[in-house]
């Protein structure tokens, strides 16, 4: 393991583990690497990728990586199990999910979904909370619509094709994928779910205490890459060609994926500094997690689960 | 059906110009075999080990196609195991998952199906008793001695009452007394049904005691070297063995066998 990485030299060598293996979705990391932003900030970064937040946390806690990019709920779950993992950077304040419906279906908002079927990837994942909150906000109660677990990507397409679902709670790649499959989609996500921000980065508290500069360097490089990519989207995609050439082989798909993932970084609170989080959002998400049974009441203290201490260091 | 006749009897087997070579091993197992076996006859093949006796029987049973020559059974080409023939192999080959009596009933079950097999059970037990296996009906083959397995295999062949019996050293694993008893039993059964018997044996007295004709074979390539007709009164008994003619015949067969050995 990269144990040595964290302790070496001037404390600027770390391994990060990403929660999915898509290069485009993680373009800030890969572009910052390619453009040398991390290096300039004095950070020698190793990048690894696995599938899913649990695997990220497991890899981190086993010492295979120093920090990583899990979702907020799994981090709360980890804390509930006594692991002191702390969220230190919000990388997708706009949230990770989109409620989408085919453009020609006539569905233009969650209200139209009364009596219809909404597809979700898993029976008990965060999308379920996401859908429930939206439908609640639209005045359609739990009994007013059906939820069907269909899985991801191809299965969602199959579900649309079979007419089994009318709308789908998609992740950004799911969104792009279904579009890429020839469906014109409408994003009908209402603002009710603004508090549900998407994946960011978390680290064991020890690391945050011992190497704040390195993590700040990471955030800074990351943010620089985000801004850089807005000007140079093509190059961001080119950078990915090196890591994951297949993903960007279909240029339209990659471009669309980049566009959609940009949406996840549109913060509902433009006034807040980049990378920061709000306590009330955490509270709301904690409440959802408790309601869903992911953690038990009182197991997690919102003050402990995240920190904005490093946020200043992220700003250019 | 051109049933040939000789001395007024039907020809059962007619073999002409039969040759067999095991291709892969390039063993010339049989050469120029010509013979004719009549209805109700008992003939024996005797000859050195490896001279092709089992191969010949296998061909006669329609289990192996000869390289050359014709094998006619009741005037018809043998090109598969014929209905009227029962064969007993040199190795008993009982199925380990069937009891002794179930092994004996196997050919019945194969012919008439499981249901109708039950009707033959008494007959099978009767046969087993006649060969001295009473009480072993429900034993599995692993619990039988070598000779017992062989006797069970004989019962298995007899249960279908075939017209032609092909026997490859049926009594090889039996002691002389049991063997003689079995010989007489075989003669009785064959005579009662006017069955034709073709016997491979290593015992000269057995060959003489049972046969109307003894074919002595020699090896490499296996061929018939001598034919000895045994003209002894029937039914033959153990007393037959005391006749001077019997002793004379055994001497002749022995000498023929001797010559077969020298040839090879």
């Amino acid at each position: 393991a990269e144990e040595a990485a964290g302790e070496q030299g001037d404390g600027s060598s770390l391994t990060v583990v990403l929660a999915n293996t898509s290069c485009v979705l993680n373009f800030p990391v890969y572009s910052a690497l390619a453009e040398g932003f991390f290096e300039e900030e004095g950070l020698d970064l190793q990048v690894e990728a696995v599938n899913g937040s649990s695997a990220v946390l497991q890899a981190m806690l086993a010492g295979q990586a120093d920090f990583g990019g899990p979702g907020a709920v799994p981090v709360m779950a980890a804390q509930a199990r006594g692991e002191d993992v702390v969220y230190f950077m919000n990388a997708s304040p706009g949230g990770s999910f989109f409620l989408i419906a085919p453009e020609d279906s006539g569905i233009t908002g969650p209200e139209d979904l009364a009596g219809k079927t909404v597809g979700v990837a898993t029976a008990d994942g965060n999308e379920v909370v996401f859908v429930d909150v939206i439908m609640d906000g639209a005045g359609v109660g739990e009994d007013g619509f059906e939820k069907l677990t269909v899985g991801e990507g191809g299965q969602a397409v199959a579900a649309f094709e079979r007419g089994d679902i009318d709308a789908y709670a998609a992740s950004s790649d799911g969104f792009a994928t279904i579009e890429n499959a020839g469906f014109s989609l409408l994003d009908i996500t209402p603002p009710d779910v603004d508090y549900m921000f998407g994946n960011g980065y978390a680290a064991p508290r020890d690391l945050i205490d011992s190497e704040p500069e390195a993590l700040e360097a990471f955030g800074k490089g990351f943010y620089r890459a985000v801004q850089w990519a807005e000007e140079n989207p093509d190059q961001a995609i080119d950078n990915c060609a090196e890591y994951q050439p297949q993903e960007v082989e279909d240029r339209d798909y990659a471009t669309r994926l980049l566009e959609i993932s940009a949406l996840t970084r549109v913060s509902p609170y433009p006034e807040d500094p980049w990378g920061s989080m709000r306590a009330e959002d955490w509270e709301a998400m904690l409440q959802d997690a408790v309601d869903a049974g992911h953690v038990e009441e009182g197991q997690v203290d919102v003050d402990q689960v995240y920190t904005n201490d490093l946020v200043d260091g992220f700003q250019p | 059906m051109s049933a040939g006749t000789l001395e007024g009897t039907r020809t059962v087997y007619r073999i002409e110009g039969l040759d067999h070579v095991f291709d892969a091993a390039e063993v010339h197992a049989l050469q120029d075999i010509d013979l004719r076996i009549l209805q109700g006859q008992v003939v024996s093949f005797i000859g050195p080990s490896g001279c092709g006796k089992s191969t010949l029987l296998t061909i006669m049973a329609g289990l192996l196609e000869p390289s050359r020559g014709t094998v006619l059974l009741n005037g018809e080409d043998v090109d598969g195991p014929p209905d009227e023939v029962g064969i007993m192999f040199q190795r008993a080959t009982l199925l380990p998952w069937r009891t002794t009596v179930e092994n004996v009933l196997l050919p019945i079950e194969l012919r008439h199906g499981k249901r109708r097999t039950k009707a033959y059970r008494d007959q099978a037990e009767d046969l087993l008793q006649r060969v001295g296996l009473a009480g072993f009906e429900r034993r599995y083959p692993g619990e039988l001695s070598g000779g017992m397995a062989q006797r069970a295999a004989i019962c298995r062949m007899l249960i279908t009452e075939p017209d032609v019996l092909l026997l490859d050293e049926p009594f090889g694993a039996l002691d002389e007394l049991t063997r003689e008893r079995m010989d007489l039993e075989l003669q009785r059964i064959a005579a009662a049904r006017d069955a034709t018997v073709v016997l491979v044996t290593h015992s000269i007295p057995e060959a003489v005691l049972l046969s109307d004709r003894v074919y002595a074979m020699s090896a490499r390539p296996g061929r018939i070297s001598e034919v000895i007709d045994i003209d002894l009164p029937r039914p033959r008994t153990l007393d037959t063995m005391a006749l001077p003619a019997f002793v004379d015949y055994t001497g002749r067969v022995r000498r023929a066998l001797d010559r077969g050995h020298e040839d090879s």
């Binding site: 899913g52 937040s53 649990s54 946390l57 497991q58 806690l61 086993a62 709920v73 799994p74 779950a77 980890a78 199990r81 006594g82 692991e83 990837a121 898993t122 029976a123 008990d124 994942g125 069907l148 677990t149 269909v150 899985g151 990507g153 191809g154 299965q155 397409v157 199959a158 579900a159 094709e161 079979r162 089994d164 992911h294 953690v295 | 296998t58 049973a61 289990l63 195991p81 209905d83 023939v85 029962g86 064969i87 192999f89 190795r91 080959t93 199925l95 380990p96 998952w97 196997l106 050919p107 079950e109 194969l110 012919r111 599995y140 692993g142 279908t160």
Partner: protein, 295 residues
């Protein structure tokens, strides 16, 4: 140890025969071998748990990676209560059981027939077998969407996936078993004018049974994982989905508890096959065993 204390089916008649120069290991082996089964199993379970606890304690492994045995046992209890009270989980388990059983039955039937074909014909061996290998070597999980597109989100798509994922061992083993009958035996049957049908059912199949049962044992266990994997990916229903949910919220103790029940299910089904094997291929196991059973 293994080598000095054989109990396989065909040991010579010396059951209990004393032999010189038995090694110390041999003695230990025979001690273990003579334990009554419940105690032997208990012993293994205890050793495994102790080892597991040791890893957790000494290795300082996080609960999120390997939960301590006690936590898992507790969760097993919690799940047991849910199952016993006919809760949500019971319904999910029932779905999964249906998928497994249907999938296994289908895989057995199809695999058996294909195995016969492949084992008995040159065409099957040389032309069809490669096709199955190609299909089998593909990541079958990737076909889940196709199954779903065709068979929907219900249990059909899942049990078909389970069958798809467990059919191969049956094919291979059945095919291998087709050449287990000896030349002498086939000759015997042919001499009795046995039909191909009879040679097949009364000889080849009997001789192939040890192979076929080995295949079925692998298949039943693959059917469990196949159904669960299909639920994993194919979404929505069954115990597999529950495992996924628990995993997604890093409740590893729950994951292990659920897996425990799936495994027990697998064990029971496996036991059923083993029982059938002892019943139908009795002549293949120790004659000693058979005789004991007689009494």
């Amino acid at each position: 140890m293994a080598l000095t204390t054989p109990v396989s089916g065909r040991e010579p008649r010396s059951a209990g025969g004393r032999r010189r120069k038995r090694s110390g290991l041999g003695r230990a082996g025979s001690f273990l071998n003579n334990l009554p089964q419940p105690i032997a199993v208990l012993l293994v379970v205890i050793v495994v748990l102790a080892f597991w606890q040791l890893i957790v304690a000494v290795g300082g492994v996080s609960e999120i990676i390997l939960p301590p045995p006690l936590a898992v046992i507790e969760e097993i209890g919690v799940v047991a209560v849910q199952l016993a009270t006919g809760g949500f989980l019971l319904g999910q388990l029932w779905l999964t059981i249906q998928e497994i059983v249907l999938g296994f039955l289908l895989a057995s039937a199809v695999g058996f027939l294909l195995g016969l074909w492949i084992g008995q014909t040159r065409f099957g061996q040389r032309a069809v077998m490669p096709l199955f290998v190609v299909v089998e070597a593909s990541p079958k999980i990737a076909f889940t969407p196709v199954f779903i597109a065709w068979f929907g989100f219900g249990i059909s798509s899942k049990f078909l996936m389970a069958a798809f994922m467990s059919v191969f061992p049956v094919i291979i083993n059945t095919a291998a078993g087709m050449s287990a009958a000896s030349e002498d035996e086939v000759k015997l049957f042919r001499s009795m004018r046995a039909s191909s049908w009879d040679i097949f059912w009364k000889l080849r199949i009997m001789r192939a049974l040890p192979f076929i049962f080995a295949g079925l044992k692998i298949a039943i266990v693959s059917a469990v994982t196949g159904a669960v994997a299909a639920e994993f990916i194919g979404g929505g229903v069954g115990f597999g989905e529950q495992v996924r949910v628990a995993a997604s919220r890093i409740a590893l103790d729950r994951v292990f508890a659920l897996i425990f029940y799936l495994s027990i299910l697998g064990l029971i089904l496996f036991g059923a096959i083993s029982w059938a094997q002892r019943k139908f291929a009795f002549w293949d196991v120790t004659s000693i065993t058979r005789k004991k059973e007689k009494k």
